[in-house]
Symmetry: C2
Subunit: 205 residues, 2 copies
């Protein structure tokens, strides 16, 4: 990709602009919906000409795929950090649950797109994103499985169902967060971490 004449080719500046484009895409996709949004809308949001945008992306779908890959990178980093803690599995789960809930609350627009728009991906891109999603689910399932093996979860817990249950609960955050009002994200994230741990540990029967 050739840099635009007269623009700095410095790597860091290029990276920042690429992030600006991603953030602009988040705002535009969230506001208009992915299907209705155009590359022109995103160029307008960034404040550049449409032609310049193609230095950073190949297509609208490319942008959506990158959004998923970038978000998945954040999730995996949070899972890694929690998994590397020197603590019992259930405390590692709590740490991840807090970090993840907090990140969701700080990135409501992006999470809404993550939860709803992945069906618009096609072919190889869809396959990649579904793969990332399955890896991520498998990683959380494995952490829950460790808690179960350590005897910290209830014995009849179905690890896979618990994993899907928890992701569903997290993906529901954007549905109500704005309506709810004045609770700080820290408090909600702490409460959600408690609910996630309870789901796994809980003495239901």
């Amino acid at each position: 990709m050739t840099p635009i004449k007269g623009q700095a080719t410095d790597g860091r500046q290029r990276r920042n602009r690429s992030e600006d484009v991603l953030e602009a895409a988040v705002r535009v996709f969230h506001k208009k919906g992915y299907a209705s949004a155009s590359i022109q809308d995103i160029a307008d949001e960034v404040g550049v000409l449409k032609g310049s945008l193609y230095h950073y992306i190949d297509s609208k779908e490319d942008l959506l795929a990158r959004l998923f890959e970038d978000s998945a990178g954040h999730f995996m980093a949070m899972l890694d950090e929690a998994s590397n803690l020197d603590a019992p599995p259930v405390e590692r789960l709590r740490r991840f649950a807090y970090a993840c809930s907090y990140w969701y609350l700080q990135n409501i627009e992006r999470v809404t797109i993550y939860a709803n728009e992945w069906k618009h991906l096609t072919g190889k891109r869809l396959k990649t994103v579904v793969g990332i999603r399955e890896d991520y689910e498998a990683r959380l399932a494995s952490l829950i499985g460790e808690a179960k093996e350590a005897g910290e979860a209830r014995p009849d817990l179905d690890v896979n169902f618990a994993t899907y249950f928890i992701f569903g609960a997290l993906n529901g955050l954007p549905e109500w967060y704005r309506r709810r009002g004045p609770d700080p994200a820290e408090r909600i994230a702490e409460s959600y971490a408690g609910l996630i741990v309870a789901t796994v540990v809980g003495g239901g029967k």
Copy 2:
């Protein structure tokens, strides 16, 4: 509304046809998405002329609103049945959780629409549906609140957050159910009921 000439005006037949139209709308909205679906698509699915459909509905949006009202009717009936049980709150919660999970699994297409398409409603219809949704959330919150008051839930449980958490988890069912394969709905519903009860009861900390 005048019945079509030559058609039976018998109440039961009319009601059945009205249900057929609703079921056809579920299939069409699920397959094409509400935004892309047309009244013609629904008429084709029912197997009637487009004009005949207007004896049962006013517009596409009218159909979407009825879908919500009809689904909410089922939810409320399940809540009523569970609430009227002569059992401790947590057992009433388990009964509702089982019934609701099972209903979701039997109505995956409808639930997908319920979770994703309500934003297409406008004006008075949107207000009605949001109102129904809030009533329904308040009813579940009140059942969870009873469990807490009875000392069956953990003392630091935030009843509202728990309610949103549980609805999120339920609304996530359509995301993975088809992928998962051979587990019978009864087993998943029982597992989800256990997870919902655990979320409320659980000794997280």
